[in-house]
């Protein structure tokens, strides 16, 4: 590191998106009514379960928790 750098750079993080459990399109975390399909984004659909998205979602949640802990 050299002189003259100033403060260390700081960036923003991308907002958290999750998959709508009905249509499997991304929505912002906390969304209740999906803007894409109009369904309940929290209600687990057969497509969501069968597609393995529930398992992936769980892994992703754990990764986010670990990431925040490290951050």
């Amino acid at each position: 590191m050299s002189d003259g750098q100033g403060a260390p750079p700081q960036g923003r993080t991308a907002p958290v998106l999750i998959l709508c459990r009905q249509c499997v399109q991304y929505v912002f975390e906390g969304t209740v009514t999906c803007p894409h399909c109009g369904g309940d984004a929290r209600e687990i659909s057969e497509r969501y379960r069968q597609g393995g998205y529930l398992a992936s979602e769980t892994i992703l949640r754990i990764e986010r928790i670990n990431d925040r802990r490290r951050g």
Binding site: A7, P8, P9, G11, L19, Q25, Y26, P35
Partner: protein, 402 residues
């Protein structure tokens, strides 16, 4: 110019901490502008070396500085990186600094012995450009025989045991033959296939007939989704480049949840581009005139990285510089207009990107499509842009039997 951004290995993955601290995780480095191909879509108009390319010692110092900043992968490109006489020295230096080294190449005249030497020096993976079947590829790359050479390089990599990926430019002409291209590259041993839309920059502005129209994403994206699924069954992972998006019905298929959704352009926040003369940018493909942040020859990289405005535009960016459709988009805050390079090259201004599947589908619901039309040529310089205008028009009614 060779395509950038390879498969997402674990070290490439950008963490929350990387984003907050603006760690330049990934560097794409044009080590020379000299090239033995004459690609009609080349954004950097590669061919002859730049007048004052960095010396070997200067390059090694750049590698040292990047290692100090936390860079985890450097991808050397050109032009054609292996034309530099010291390219193996640079590969070894990158490796010796604990940084993953990959290389993007057209593969023309890259011999098996050279590939073996690169692997021995620490090259981790090689990305080879294949832009269509033989006639189209050779036409786009401007050299007869370049297609066969690219496939031969893939075959050599397989025999040597070096991870090989394929990069493909999506032009208007390649769509009908993409499925066959996939068959060919699987046969040749590729494990990763990165797709990227050809961007209106440099030579591609001169040959704007090769550019995909935004509305053609309605055909392209389902095709890519189908190829993604079929490729996976055969051991090939199709990966979307930074300008393939965004958030349409296939986002979860190829970006997540395992790989994560599109998190916005990483230029200048977690990515650096270097030109062979030492010019630093947030992304290797951005227009030098608007995004060049000075030279690493004159100023330490850490100082430029911390202070230069041309590297900082993404770091705390919200939606304020978005315009057009992107400004009002549901995903605006997450996407921020997608690939800066794609939008900025078209309009001379970032923040409104017509090459977006979500956008195309939303407009189609209203019976509208968008088309780009060139209104100004690009000057004969590397990374030069022209100017395009965006035409919004009703979707033509499908004719019977069409």
């Amino acid at each position: 110019m060779t395509e950038t951004m390879q498969e997402d290995g674990p070290r490439r993955r950008i963490s929350l901490r990387d984003q907050l601290d603006c760690v330049p995780v990934y560097v794409v480095w044009e080590t020379t502008l000299a090239c033995n191909l004459k690609c009609i879509h080349c954004g950097s108009r590669a061919g002859h070396r730049r007048t004052e390319e960095l010396s070997t010692d200067e390059c090694i110092d750049v590698i040292r500085q990047l290692a100090e900043l936390g860079t985890r992968e450097i991808s050397i490109i050109g032009g054609e990186a292996f034309i530099r006489k010291d390219w193996l020295t640079l590969v070894r230096a990158i490796h010796d600094h604990g940084i993953d080294c990959t290389m993007q190449t057209g593969g023309y005249k890259l011999s098996r012995a050279m590939i073996e030497a690169a692997a021995e020096a620490g090259l981790l993976g090689l990305g080879v450009s294949v832009d269509g079947l033989e006639p189209l590829h050779d036409r786009l790359r401007g050299v007869a025989g370049s297609y066969r050479e690219a496939l031969r390089v893939l075959d050599d990599c397989r025999e040597i045991g070096l991870v090989a990926s394929v990069n493909s430019q999506i032009t208007a002409a390649v769509m009908p033959e993409l499925a066959e291209v996939m068959d060919v590259i699987i046969e040749a041993g590729a494990k990763y296939w990165q797709i990227q839309l050809t961007v209106a920059m440099g030579n591609a502005v001169d040959h704007d007939d090769i550019l995909l129209q935004p509305y053609e994403l309605t055909t392209l994206m389902p095709l890519l989704a189908d190829l993604h699924c079929r490729g996976r069954e055969r051991g090939l992972l199709l990966l979307p480049g930074n300008n393939i998006g965004y958030f349409g019905p296939y986002e979860a298929l190829w970006r997540g949840p395992e790989r994560g959704y599109y998190g916005g352009c990483p230029a200048g926040q977690n990515a650096i581009g270097l030109e062979a003369d030492g010019t630093i940018k947030g992304c290797p493909s951005l227009a030098t005139q608007r995004y060049g942040a000075g030279s690493v020859r004159d100023t330490p990289i850490a100082e430029l990285w911390a202070n230069h405005p041309a590297l900082q535009f993404n770091r705390n960016r919200g939606v304020e510089d978005l315009w057009g459709f992107c400004r009002e988009c549901y995903y605006a805050e997450a996407c921020r207009g997608g690939c800066t390079w794609t939008a900025d090259s078209l309009f001379g201004r970032r923040g409104n990107n017509p090459y977006c599947h979500h956008r195309v589908l939303k407009l189609a619901e209203r019976g509208i499509r968008e088309r780009i039309v060139k209104v100004e040529d690009a000057p004969p310089l590397p990374f030069a842009t022209g100017r395009f205008t965006l035409i919004e028009e009703p979707i033509p009614a499908a004719r019977d039997g069409a």
